[in-house]
């Protein structure tokens, strides 16, 4: 019976610290994003003036914000399509064919995922360097003349970002799909091949439908995470430049809220992107809905 009286206290002592930390550093700041988006606050006058939806109205007329949203959407679409196509195909190859050194490839492909985005950005900055960069020197070697492409210039910077982001993401998703593909029964492929189905048919008719649930959830998460990764890469690699050509939604938010100290305006961007990411993942979820297949 002593136990009974201690039970409530035990539960409280176990759950309270986590709940308090969660409340202070996650719940309240999240509420604050939305609350502050309705106020005007700057660094030197820490009083808050309620301005209603003014911040949002200003946003819709802000060409820089529109450009940053366009860049974000471009990255979401292109990075997602390339990463998923490559990751699925490579995962299928590595699981289905008898490849020597499978484990070696798996280990190597996962490496970008454990590196800090700062490190990856520094590596790619060195690769992209116009005069001493490895990429231009490689291109010069193959073309026989001096190539001096401005990889981080206004016209190329988004492509350069896409390459770096795909490089970072591919391995992680490949290893993940390999895990789910290896659970597909081998006998399915054998009977399909007896029926005359080739590799490509098997891939589309057996592999993809069977791991569809997995693809669907990862796709939803990937889209949300691309919005965040885009920010990390831009912050470390280009700072949004040159001339805002590589600004993405969250980097623009950070610039407004932190660097410019126009907190209310920045938080309005944050709130909008937050809602955008939820809407987008709901949309993807709805569009990719299929009957679950089980053989």
């Amino acid at each position: 019976m002593i136990k009974r009286s201690g039970r409530g206290r035990f539960i409280f002592l176990c759950a309270a610290p986590a709940t308090i930390l969660f409340l202070i550093f996650m719940v309240i700041p999240t509420v604050n994003v939305f609350r502050m988006s309705l106020f005007k606050r700057s660094a030197y006058s820490p009083t808050e003036d309620f301005v209603g939806l003014d911040n949002f109205i200003r946003l819709l007329g802000d060409a820089n914000f529109i450009r940053s949203m366009q860049n974000t959407i471009l990255l979401i679409v292109v990075v997602t399509v390339i990463t998923f196509a490559f990751a699925l195909v490579f995962a299928a190859i590595l699981t289905m064919e008898k490849i020597k050194g499978q484990n070696f490839f798996r280990i190597i492909f996962y490496i970008p995922n454990i590196l800090s985005v700062v490190v990856i950005s520094a590596i790619f900055s060195a690769i992209y360097d116009t005069n001493n960069g490895t990429l231009n020197s490689l291109l010069s070697l193959f073309s026989g003349k001096t190539v001096a492409i401005l990889w981080k210039g206004e016209s190329m910077v988004m492509i350069s970002l896409i390459i770096a982001m795909v490089w970072q993401a591919i391995g992680y998703y490949m290893v993940m799909y390999m895990a789910s593909m290896s659970s597909v029964s081998q006998s399915l492929y054998e009977s399909a091949s007896l029926d005359g189905a080739g590799r490509i048919v098997s891939f589309f008719q057996i592999t993809l439908p069977l791991i569809w649930t997995n693809i669907r959830t990862t796709l939803t998460f990937f889209i949300i995470s691309t919005i965040n990764m885009a920010f990390l890469f831009v912050k470390a690699m280009t700072s949004g430049g040159p001339n805002g050509a590589s600004e993405v939604a969250l980097s623009y938010m950070y610039k407004q809220a932190y660097t410019n100290s126009t907190y209310g305006y920045g938080m309005a961007i944050g709130a909008l992107v937050f809602l955008f990411s939820f809407g987008l993942s709901a949309l993807v979820n709805a569009v990719t809905k299929r009957e679950t297949l089980e053989f």
Binding site: K3, R7, F10, I11, C14, A15, P17, A18, T19, L21, F22, I24, F25, M26, V27, P29, N32, V33, M36, I93, L94, E97, I99, F109, Y110, I111, I114, L115, S116, V117, V118, V119, A122, I123, S125, A126, N132, T134, S137, I170, G171, Y172, V175, A179, T218, F221, F222, I224, S225, N228, L232, K235, L250, Y254, Y258, Y263, M267, G270, F274, F278
Partner: protein, 295 residues
């Protein structure tokens, strides 16, 4: 005849696969290896052919990075923050996950839903509100004690890291705790053990594999993180973590061209994660299917 044609096509396909796989592996290995190579080059060597092997082992780069670029100091900060954050996280998340998954009490469902929802809140959105909260807190403290200590404080940074990692960690640990049969606790209670003793002596040791997974993933994310660190440790002369210091170095490098120091700094950031990865790569790639959806 037909059989022969098929097998030579088969061989071509195999060769094609190997070529593509090796090419992909090369695009990952070469940039990383190149950084290690560049870190022992003298500054003058950076203006020649980027593919040239280093003329000698120039370890002065590391000494310069360590002292002049303050990387040594940042390294100590990074170790401190990472270890402290992991300790806080485990001390708080383990008991919480335990009671949330194995005890019936009022409000349990609401708490579970709240932590689940926390999985969708990315820290990039709330970093500025957290910063402002600490600014306000410091202002309040200054009024009472004459000094604020919340900003530019590595301990506070560690607490924020731990708090923002809670949803993922609790989700992962609860998933494991929920699979254990209740017999363990009942047997312990019959033997006269209290709730706390049972949890610490019986349940936690069994959860060791999950705890290791939690430590691995969070080590990587804390060690590599730089957005929160950059925001909360804003004093230019104050404490910094390694990735933030490195980012400064990349930005300074564009002006001052201290390439050697930069690459030595890169190696310092990468090396701990690479060593850890080599030791536990199996665990990491297996663990990811467990907590598969970490954005």
């Amino acid at each position: 005849m037909e059989h022969k044609g098929r097998s030579s096509g088969e061989r071509l396909y195999k060769i094609f696969i190997y070529v593509v796989l090796i090419l992909l592996a090369v695009t990952i290995i070469v940039p990383v290896a190149w950084v290690f190579m560049a870190s022992i080059k003298q500054n003058s060597e950076f203006y020649g052919n980027p593919w040239a092997l280093p003329a000698g082992v120039y370890l002065q780069n590391f000494a310069d990075a360590w002292n002049k670029a303050r990387m040594g100091e940042y390294m100590i900060n990074s170790v401190l923050v990472t270890v402290l954050a992991l300790a806080i996280l485990l001390a708080v998340a383990l008991p919480a996950a335990y009671v949330l998954s194995r005890f019936a009490f009022r409000g349990r469902k609401a708490l579970n839903v709240a932590f689940m929802a926390g999985l969708f809140i990315n820290v990039n959105y709330i970093v500025v509100p957290i910063f402002l909260m600490l600014v306000d807190g410091d202002m309040f403290l200054r009024k009472i004690f004459g000094a604020g200590f919340l900003l530019n404080n590595v301990v506070v940074l560690a607490v924020v890291y731990a708090a923002t990692a809670l949803p993922f960690t609790i989700y992962l640990l609860s998933g494991y705790f929920a699979t254990l049969p209740h017999d363990y606790e009942e047997a312990a209670y019959i033997d006269g053990a209290g709730y706390g003793t049972t949890m610490i002596k019986i349940i936690f040791p069994m959860a060791q594999p999950s705890i290791i997974t939690v430590i691995l993933f969070n080590f990587l994310s804390f060690w590599n993180e730089y957005i929160i660190a950059m925001t909360l440790l804003s004093d230019p002369k104050g404490a910094k973590t390694l990735p933030v210091g490195l980012m400064q170095l990349t930005q300074a490098q564009q002006a001052a061209t201290e390439y050697g120091q930069l690459y030595a700094g890169l190696v310092l950031v990468m090396l701990p994660t690479l060593i850890l990865y080599i030791c536990v790569q199996k665990k990491l790639t297996q663990g990811m299917t467990l907590g598969g959806l970490k954005g």
